[in-house]
């Protein structure tokens, strides 16, 4: 964490009072995050300045997700409140999951599609009350939602800036929250949420996240943002709470095999050509398409695809170590592993034929495996299929063996379990 004594020496020859100017949006937590960000490395996330890593390297932040507790500002998520007598029926028509069975306090992860069954976005649907839901998304969806709600008795509010959100992820996340909230989280199940208070501040906590670990997301009125941040940081110290940026998150989500819009797939609404569009079946989330429920957007096309089979599959692959190491040894180099997650499309071959491409990957420090998410032609997507992964060693392209493996790569028991 920020150590005044260090900064004093490092900035010795300059003033340590600095101001900066930005055209980007600032989250209500920025007053804290900007001061904690020692690297001053930022990424854009939905037009917000979002910390890439707080420390000079993301390593400690990555490990805090897996062994301690990582605190992430996830305010940039798009959020919409759907409220009214038709809210449930509407959402059920909008998304592929069965929202009719979603209970108050339940959260569902779901994709949604266009009429051709091609995925537009994915996010979570939270049932906040009998007739009130919140849906989160990676890209703006207000127009799509409004367009499809025509004639229904409900209101749609863009909640993106009216609700601030934090994610607290990692094995110690529950212990920290139990210390600061007025209720116990011990019985809160995976993908459920509850309203509670944090020092009299009303918040809601969902047991959700983007890391594949035990973790929670905290939703609040932005006016309480700083108080919530301070309280968590204060009480979390002895549990190793660590402000965490997007580099670490990206690695964790790949380990958890969670797809990312604009990286692993393109929204059907923004795809320039049809080839870029994918269905949920092709993105490894066919389980979230409930064909038995009543009509929903894209159902006919998805039914057809379900019967006829999909052209593509999203799979996990593992790049084989020994061969990789050999490529580098030949050059007199130690094995070169990506330090952070990469997101540049990388060809995958079988024999002379390109059968797919990996869209994001990383070396997993916790699993000690080089893993990636890949789009593969369905014929070449069976678990155990051997592929060749294109690797650049010292400027030269090489092919190195990879294999289709089970996902999620990392799936700890604690993600779903409750304390006994």
């Amino acid at each position: 964490m920020f150590n005044p004594a260090i900064s004093k020496i490092y900035f010795m020859s300059y003033s340590n009072q600095f101001t900066a100017h930005t055209q980007l949006r600032l989250s209500p937590f920025f007053e804290r995050t900007s001061k904690l960000n020692e690297s001053q490395e930022w990424r854009r996330w939905s037009g917000y300045l979002s910390a890439t890593n707080y420390e000079l390297s993301h390593e400690n932040e990555y490990f805090s997700i897996r062994t301690k507790a990582a605190l992430l500002d996830i305010t940039p998520l798009y959020k919409y409140i759907i409220e009214g007598p038709d809210a449930q029926r509407f959402l059920d028509r909008l998304v592929t999951r069965n929202i009719m069975i979603c209970k108050v306090g339940q959260v569902m992860y779901t994709p949604w599609c266009d009429e051709n069954g091609k995925q537009i976005d994915d996010g979570t649907v939270q049932r906040l009350a009998e007739q009130k839901f919140r849906i989160t998304s990676a890209e703006p969806n207000l127009e799509w939602i409004e367009h499809n709600a025509a004639g229904m008795e409900l209101s749609i509010i863009d909640d993106s800036t009216t609700t601030a959100a934090l994610a607290l992820q990692g094995p110690n996340s529950r212990n920290i929250l139990n210390k600061v909230i007025s209720d116990s989280l011990n019985n809160l199940k995976f993908f459920w949420m509850m309203k509670t208070r944090l020092n009299d501040i009303p918040i809601s906590i969902s047991r959700t996240g983007y890391t594949g670990d035990l973790g929670y997301e905290i939703w609040m009125d932005p006016k309480y943002a700083l108080s919530v941040w301070d309280l968590l940081m204060d009480k979390g110290v002895s549990y190793g709470i660590t402000p965490t940026g997007l580099h670490a998150l990206d690695m964790a989500r790949i380990e958890a095999s969670l797809i990312l819009l604009d990286v692993d797939y393109v929204s059907a609404q923004h795809a320039f050509i049809d080839h870029r569009r994918s269905s949920p079946y092709e993105l490894g989330i066919g389980w979230a398409v409930k064909l038995k429920k009543k009509d929903f957007i894209g159902k006919t096309a998805l039914e057809k695809e379900h019967v006829q089979g999909s052209e593509w599959q999203l799979r996990g692959i593992e790049i084989e170590w020994n061969a990789l190491e050999k490529h580098y040894r030949k050059m007199g180099l130690p094995p070169g592993l990506p330090n952070t997650a990469w997101r540049s499309s990388t060809p995958l071959y079988q024999g002379n034929e390109q059968v797919g491409y990996a869209t994001s990957g990383c070396w997993s420090p916790i699993l000690k495996r080089y893993i990636a998410l890949a789009h593969l032609k369905s014929d070449n997507a069976r678990i155990g299929t051997k592929l060749d992964f294109e690797l650049k060693v010292e400027h030269f392209r090489k092919l190195t063996p990879a294999m289709v493996v089970d996902t999620p790569f990392f799936d700890p028991e604690r993600k779903r379990s409750c304390p006994v």
Partner: protein
């Protein structure tokens, strides 16, 4: 009636190398039994809750040399291996400090503060050491050939190594020879001028060794500590979540997954030898187990001089083992703390507490610490290598509390007058006083302390003379000489009796390497 069971292989000692050997043998389909004297597995790689709520990596405390192929082949991450980076080294000084971190710019600027010249030399030094590490790696991965009567495969292995050495550049060769022969202080003097930097770097040349930074040969030990790699990157240290015992536990779970039987509180009394062949073991409680092969994970002294009768061994071999240098030189102080130490030179919490903290203000300081030991005393102002595991892994201590591991040198096994309770407390006091020089609040925050002298390391963990490496890593005790010429290939003069501990090639540290290579050698010739 003594129980009798038939095993393909019995491994004596559930230390991490014994467990590794057991896992590899089981993985090859052999029926394996591991016998551990203590109630916990891991040998010196063990985590114990010494005081309620406070967990300690009681002996060995960091991991770097764990071989990547062992991690993969035994599927250790699946069984609980979780290595966290330990990337900074903090050397507190009077009114100043030296803090080296994983960040290139930060470290450059920090060393520049003390010596602009060193800051640049440091940037060339790291890659050179990595290159030397790569150059030496093939030796580490070779089963030592029999230098006296090489077999065909020994000859081909030797040829491979020679071919490899032909590929080294003149510079690599020059530095390799220097590292094999020089003292760490002399070697570093060629590179750097800032004394605390040299002192801290030289310290890795004395760990586990009864040498000072000015003793010839200490540069090799420094290289040994440079050869670690994590995730393919040379030269990084790690901390196992849950302590080093969790590494052993992961290997044990892997061994069990492959079908090994593991027994604790099963102390072996003797290896049963019949017609020059090992045929099983007898436990201290009289139980007997038969097996085709017996493998010892203990150090050479125990493996040969305790487990066997001298008369069963060739006398020149007995002499070699008796001469094998295993002089313990270090102690361990484990502290349960009420809070974090507050260093005068860099107050408060910060990244400097998340890595190694090294009490090594100057070369002279360490050399003087060695002088005390040379004449049979523990160091009044010792070199201390500290980590605070609870900062990386809060589960090691109750919330808000901390555990601190202090590796201390020197504490000679053969101390004047012998070790006793008073001397142990004096030794502990000396360590805490040395710490208090830099972090005065330490005395106020100690809740409990555990002090381990070399004598304790011997009696509790079965490390002869308290030597953490099962024998010094000095040139005459490496590769084809470890632990004795002709018997460095994991075999012993007793047929079907093998060795797989740190006293064999490539030596100490949590590597899994001796266990792996012994198992592979055994399987090759099964």
């Amino acid at each position: 009636m003594p129980s009798v069971a038939q095993y393909d292989a019995i491994v004596i000692g559930g230390g991490h190398n014994g467990l590794t050997a057991a896992a590899y043998l089981s993985r090859a389909g052999k029926k394996v039994l591991v016998l551990e004297r203590r109630h916990v597995l891991g040998g010196a790689a063990v985590t114990e809750e010494i005081f309620p709520g406070f967990k300690f990596s009681v002996c060995s405390y960091v991991v770097s040399l764990m071989k990547a192929n062992v991690i993969r082949e035994l599927m250790l991450p699946k069984f609980g291996l979780e290595l966290l980076p330990l990337e900074s080294t903090f050397t507190p000084l009077n009114n100043d400090y030296l803090l080296r971190t994983a960040d290139h710019d930060q470290t450059y600027r920090e060393i520049y503060r003390h010596s602009p010249r060193d800051a640049e030399a440091y940037e060339r030094f790291g890659p050179l050491m990595s290159q030397i590490g790569m150059a030496v790696r093939p030796i580490l991965e070779t089963i030592p050939p029999n230098a006296i009567r090489p077999s065909l495969s020994d000859l081909s292995a030797t040829k491979k190594l020679l071919d490899h050495f032909k590929t080294l550049s003149t510079e690599q060769f020059e530095y390799l020879v220097k590292l094999m022969t020089m003292s760490s202080a002399d070697f570093l003097d060629e590179w750097f001028e800032f004394d605390p930097l040299k002192a801290t770097m030289s310290a890795s040349g004395i760990i586990g060794t009864f040498m000072g930074p000015r003793s010839p040969g200490s540069a090799y030990v420094m290289l040994h500590h440079y050869m670690g790699d994590i995730d393919g990157a040379f030269r990084s240290w790690g901390f196992q979540r849950g302590g080093t015992g969790a590494v052993s536990a992961a290997i044990a779970r892997s061994a069990e997954h492959f079908g090994a039987d593991i027994m604790t509180e099963a102390a072996v009394e003797k290896v049963t030898v019949k017609n020059g062949k090992a045929i099983g073991v007898t436990l201290e409680n009289g139980d007997q187990f038969d097996s085709t092969k017996v493998i010892s994970g203990m150090d050479p002294k125990l493996t040969f001089l305790k487990m066997l009768n001298e008369k069963d061994l060739p006398s020149d071999f007995v002499t070699s083992i008796k001469n094998f240098r295993i002089r313990g030189s270090s102690g361990k102080v484990n502290l349960a703390l009420d809070g974090l130490p507050d260093f005068t030179c860099l107050p408060g919490n910060g990244p400097h507490l998340r890595g190694a903290i090294s009490i090594s203000p100057s070369l002279e300081y360490i050399e003087k610490a060695y002088d005390d030991a040379k004449y049979g005393n523990f160091s009044r102002s010792p070199y201390i290598d500290i980590i605070i595991p609870s900062v990386l892994d809060p589960d090691m201590a109750p919330p808000g509390k901390h555990v601190m591991s202090c590796f201390v040198q020197y504490a000679p096994y053969n101390i004047n007058g012998g070790w006793n309770d008073d001397k142990r407390e004096d030794f502990g006091d000396a360590v805490i006083n040395a710490l208090a020089q830099y972090a005065p609040n330490i005395k106020d925050i100690i809740l409990h302390r555990q002090i381990l002298t070399p004598a304790d390391l011997e009696s509790t963990f079965g490390l002869s003379e308290g030597n953490i490496f099962h024998g010094e890593l000095s040139l005459q005790q490496l590769f084809i000489m470890r632990p004795a010429v002709k018997w460095a290939d994991y075999r012993t003069p007793i047929r079907n009796y093998f060795q797989c501990g740190s006293g064999t090639h490539p030596g100490g540290g949590i590597t899994g390497s001796p266990g792996e290579m012994a198992a592979k050698k055994i399987l090759k010739e099964w």
